[in-house]
Amino acid sequence: MISALFAILVFPGILFVSAFSLAAEFADRKIHARLQNRVGPPWFQPLADFIKLLGKAELIPTNARPLIFSITPVFALASAITAYLYVPLWTKDALFSFNGDVIVVLYLLTIPTMAFFIGGWYSTSLYAKIGSVRLMTQLFAYEVPLFIGILSGALLADTWSLYGIALFYHNNPMFRFFNIIGFAVSLIALMGKLEKVPFDIPEAETEIVAGVCTEYSGKFLALFRLALDVEMVVGASLLAAVYLPSGMSLGPIAGFAVYIVEIFFIVALISLLRTVFARLRIDQMVSFCWKYMAPLGIAQLLINLIVKAVLIK
């Protein structure tokens, strides 16, 4: 009971994942800034932003429904943190694991997006509504490649448990090279989920102010932003677990260090990609996802099926 509470509240639960995701946000912002030839924020900036937002007054639009408006950020954050409980893997003992948790994580990751949508829609601002619609349109575009990408990795490992997948690739390290396309597809789809350039269409500042978050302020906005950061860590951990599991046999401390490095590596990749691109238009984004990403994901699926038939009997 106490250890479960500890796991939920402190490690690897709310406290740890919040701190970790703020660190990841810092890494993202700093790398982005350095690549753009800027100085970038000091290390505590994400935390300072968070605390400052907590202290600000929150305004609820007159026409918005107060309950839905204020509860959606909590939903977004809670589901993102819940998803995290299943993904960190750095030892041979999974914290929580059951067959099928990879599906659960993927669906839990969809909930924040739904929460953003509902929050934006019910805040009744035109900009937020357009942002919400774009968010959903984008969801349908990147969700399929993301699922195919992650699940084709699972297919090769022949298990629906993240722990099982990680263990399989850990024991058969050469097999992960078959998954390079899947990794690329999942990473790009993840950027769509995290609303990073070139897929920051739902919050395109120069068009619709801040998209779904336009009307949000104070602690609600703080929670939304934290939820996005946690999503980034969960997504990165998911990719790390499926595509780059390593260090599982190094013991808890070294394994943990390797895990952290992996996450920052993926965050750095995301920062790099968002530095070198311009924002796409929503129609271009959708056609890009269906024209290139989904077929590539399916190609990965086929490769893994063949590999499985030939190499693993």
Binding site: N37, L126, I201, E207, A278, R279, I282, D283
Partner: protein, 403 residues
């Protein structure tokens, strides 16, 4: 389609895509723009009326403040008209210095535009890079004129500051750096996939439409309209330097981007020629305080397009009438045309692509209306008193300052 699917969203008067207040009311169906209403006039400061109440020298400084970016354009355009009426022979060295500053201004304005365009399409990296490089030319301008913007370089009958060989060396060095960087930006603008995706075929303005709607500047030249006041109606020292007028037949924002980056290369060329051929001699002639009666129109190719000033004098030290036509005003109709049937996502870049300068556009009448419910006309004096009082309450006393 029923009305349910249509809705109107306001872009402005305050909006992150606009750097100045201006109101665009956009009728949307989904992501598609059905029509746009443009309401201008949020930036009225009454420059034209104010000009009639001030002396020519005061007006020159006032006109310079019509716009923060093309300040040299407006002041040069104005003094040219006044000099024409007064029949002043401006020394050649002064003309060369005017040309030099105007090209440096074009460089700084185009680099600024490139950054803003990058920001509007969500490519902030380009913004950061171009604005860093823009500092080079800003430093040069500060070195030559003493100011980063609103240079105060012109005076009636010449220029106020001479330049020395040391400064020439610095300018040339800056040009080398910028030329190198601009080559890189040409590469980025013409090869980078997402940039091309967002610019190519967006904001189409056909050659015929550009002529019909009287578009000016890079907007028109990207639609293959071969017009450039610098060549057609040369002023300052432009008749003595050689340069190409850049045109493009893409008719879209991609074309406008190419025109601007290529104009940057031409500007470096002009700056080098001007520095090489700069004649010796005085930099100013004495101008009379009272300008004889007459009228003149002056044209000037500002970074954003053709600027025109009309000055009518009545023999006193104050002008009878000053009319300013800034380039953005001429391009407003073109924007309306370009936005039709485009996507909402294209709107910021389409508006930005004419390099709008709304404070230039709305130069006219003072918004003296402080209290909207009473709608009284507050005079300039009243406004001044009001501001003095307002600051006094905050502990700052400006009332000793004479205007």
């Amino acid at each position: 389609m029923s009305d349910k699917n249509k809705f109107k969203i306001p872009i402005g008067p305050q909006h992150p895509a606009l750097k100045e207040p201006e109101s665009f009311s956009v009728a949307l169906k989904g992501e598609k723009i059905l029509g746009v209403d443009i309401r201008l006039g949020y930036n009225h400061r009454g420059v034209e009326k104010a000009c009639e109440e001030r002396t020519y020298i005061q007006d020159m400084y006032l006109v310079e403040r019509v716009c923060g970016i093309c300040s040299h354009s407006h002041s040069t355009c104005f003094v040219q008209a006044v000099e024409e009426i007064a029949g002043l022979q401006v020394p050649r060295r002064a003309l060369y210095i005017r040309t030099l500053v105007s090209e440096l201004e074009r460089i700084h304005s185009h680099l600024l535009w490139l950054g803003v365009a990058g920001h509007e399409i969500g490519f902030d990296t380009l913004l950061m890079y171009t604005w860093r490089d823009r500092e080079v030319v800003m430093d040069i301008l500060a070195e030559l004129t003493g100011n980063r913007v609103n240079y105060g370089m012109n005076t009636i009958g010449g220029v106020r500051r001479d330049i020395n060989p040391d400064q020439i060396k610095k300018v040339l060095k800056g040009m080398d750096i910028l030329e190198e960087r601009t080559k890189y930006y040409i590469e980025v603008a013409s090869k980078e996939t997402t940039v091309i995706k967002r610019l190519l075929g967006v904001g189409i303005l056909s050659h015929e439409d550009a002529l019909r709607l009287d578009a000016v500047g890079p907007t028109a030249r990207a639609s293959n309209v071969n017009r450039d006041v610098r060549r057609d109606d040369p002023y300052a020292a432009y008749s003595e330097v050689s340069f190409n007028v850049i045109t493009d037949d893409h008719n879209d924002i991609y074309g406008r981007t190419l025109v601007r980056v290529k104009e940057l290369m031409e500007a470096y060329k002009i700056v080098r020629q001007v520095l090489k051929d700069m004649p010796d001699g005085p930099i100013t002639v004495k101008a009379p305080r009272k300008i004889p009666a007459g009228e003149a129109t002056s044209r000037y190719e500002a970074p954003r397009g053709e600027d025109m000033h009309y000055v009518k004098s009545n023999g006193t030290e104050k002008p009878e009438r000053v009319k300013i036509r800034a380039p953005t005003l001429a391009n407003i109709q073109a924007v309306k045309h370009m936005l039709k049937d485009r996507f909402l996502a294209d709107m910021p870049i389409v508006i930005a692509a004419i390099d709008p300068c709304f404070s230039c556009t709305d130069r006219l009448i003072s918004i003296n209306d402080l209290d909207r419910t009473k709608s009284e006309i507050v005079t300039w004096e009243g406004l001044r008193d009001y501001s003095i009082k307002w600051y006094k309450e905050k502990g700052i006393d400006f009332s000793k300052v004479e205007i």
